[in-house]
């Protein structure tokens, strides 16, 4: 693919007529280092390695910033408190009220973990957001989905919980045969699916975009291989534009990574708040 083309020295204005091949989805299927040879498995791939790094970053950040928590905070502790304060004031208090404070550690863990996994996409050398593999957002979304049901059932009983989720208040009885299946599909299938796919898709697309800028920039850089010096300089100019685009979009990606982590946590919090509230 594009990396192979790069190795062959395929650049703009080449003599042997090879064209640009945009990076494709193969980016997200790294060759396994250890293949289990089982169906539905990928083996140990780069994702597993980056996941471990992301986990170490997130857990390490939390461990070292809160290890010596004091009344007068250190810089690290202030950072941790800032994060906790932000999630509490902007997310859990707004969606679950004071009661939501008991889910605050969960939300902090979710945010830390997701942001850490996302940000691996712009760490040089790793450059693979873990969340661009649907399996990882799925873990989190399914966990939240199960917790959502557990909270609702524990709070209101199984009957009341499922009734509240399936039968919207104030709907005439004759329309229920239509509404109930829609609600069931909406709340129990589409919602967890969108919850995981939203995060996955943004990270997937963002990573692909950065890869296109990087591959395009590399393809267009042909200062020495071009037929004459003018074309060589022109190709370098193109390449510089691609580089600027890459840097701008990297900064933008960082922002998106934070926003997506925020959105995931916010939605989790809204769902749990809804389960706690019961019927509308």
């Amino acid at each position: 693919m594009y990396s192979a083309a790069g190795e062959e020295g395929c650049h703009l204005f080449n003599d042997f007529g090879c064209g640009f091949e945009a990076p494709g989805t193969s980016l997200f299927f790294p060759t396994p280092w250890v293949d289990f040879g089982l169906p539905m498995t990928s083996g140990i791939t780069k994702y597993a390695l980056v996941l471990v790094v992301a986990l170490l970053v997130a857990a390490g950040f939390w461990y070292f910033t809160t290890r010596n928590a004091k009344v007068v905070p250190s810089r690290g502790q202030s950072l941790a408190e800032l994060l906790v304060g932000f999630i509490r004031d902007q997310i859990t208090r707004n969606t679950m009220g004071k009661e939501g404070d008991k889910f605050l550690p969960l939300m902090v863990a979710l945010f830390l973990f997701i942001f850490s996994m996302n940000v691996m996409g712009i760490i040089p050398g790793l450059q693979l957001p873990v969340t661009s593999n649907l399996a990882y957002p799925a873990v989190l979304a399914i966990f939240v989905f199960i917790l959502w049901n557990a909270v609702g059932i524990r709070r209101h009983g199984a009957g009341a919980h499922f009734k509240a989720r399936l039968v919207p208040g104030g709907v005439p009885a004759w329309i229920l045969p239509v509404v109930v299946p829609i609600e069931a599909l909406s709340n129990f299938v589409i919602r967890p699916a969108t919850h995981m796919i939203r995060l996955f898709a943004t990270m997937f697309a963002g990573h692909l975009l950065l890869a296109v800028f990087a591959a395009g920039g590399w393809y267009m850089f042909n200062l020495f291989g071009a037929p004459n010096i003018g074309l060589g300089l022109l190709s370098t100019g193109f390449s510089a534009v691609a580089l600027i685009g890459f840097l701008v979009f990297t900064a933008f990606e960082l922002f998106i990574m934070a926003v997506q982590a925020y959105v995931f946590v916010l939605l989790s919090s809204i769902y749990l708040g809804e389960a706690m509230e019961g019927a509308h």
């Binding site: 990928s42 939390w62 906790v84 989190l140």
Partner: protein, 181 residues
């Protein structure tokens, strides 16, 4: 590429990756929950201290206000006392002046009375002296006129007394006449 398409479904969820993800998530959850009490206790402690600080500040403020009130009351009291003292001093001054004036009047009256008495006494003495001298002079004169006829002492004093009585009568008439006038 086409052969790989089925394999390379971007929406695939590999079981092993799902398991890795679950383990990683449980680890981060464990770390966060493990460390949570440390952070939250520090936060609670801070909240307590801040509340305590606010409490102390309020107390100090109330104390200061109380002291200020006391000070103000004392100042007012001092002003009142000062005014009272001033009033008292004024009264005293007036009293002293009045007393002095009375004393002076009494003294003046006493002096005047004493003067009157002295004058009266002097007058009486003068009258007595005059009477005696007039008697002697009259006798001398009469003796010279009448000669030795009046040498008889008894007769002489009788004559003098009559003369003086007449003289006194005349005098009281003139004094009454002077009073009338």
């Amino acid at each position: 590429m086409i052969g790989l398409a089925a394999e390379e479904n971007i929406l695939r969820i590999h079981v092993d990756e799902f398991v890795f993800g679950s383990i990683a998530f449980l680890i981060i959850l464990a770390v966060v929950y493990k460390m949570w009490p440390k952070l939250s206790s520090a936060l609670d402690e801070r909240a307590n201290q801040i509340e305590g600080g606010i409490e102390r500040a309020k107390k100090a403020e109330a104390e200061a206000e109380e002291i200020r009130q006391q000070y103000r009351e004392k100042l007012d009291e001092a002003h009142r006392q000062y005014a009272a003292e001033l009033e008292k001093a004024k009264e005293q001054r007036a009293a002293i002046i009045a007393e002095a004036r009375d004393e002076a009047q009494v003294e003046a009256r006493r002096i005047v009375d004493a003067a009157h008495a002295q004058i009266e006494a002097d007058r009486q003495q003068a009258i007595a002296q005059l009477r005696a001298e007039i008697g002697t002079l009259s006798t001398d004169l009469a003796e010279r006129i009448v000669g030795e006829s009046l040498a008889d002492g008894a007769l002489q004093s009788r004559v003098i007394d009559r003369f003086l009585d007449e003289l006194e009568q005349g005098e009281s008439t003139t004094s009454s006449q002077a009073e009338v006038r």
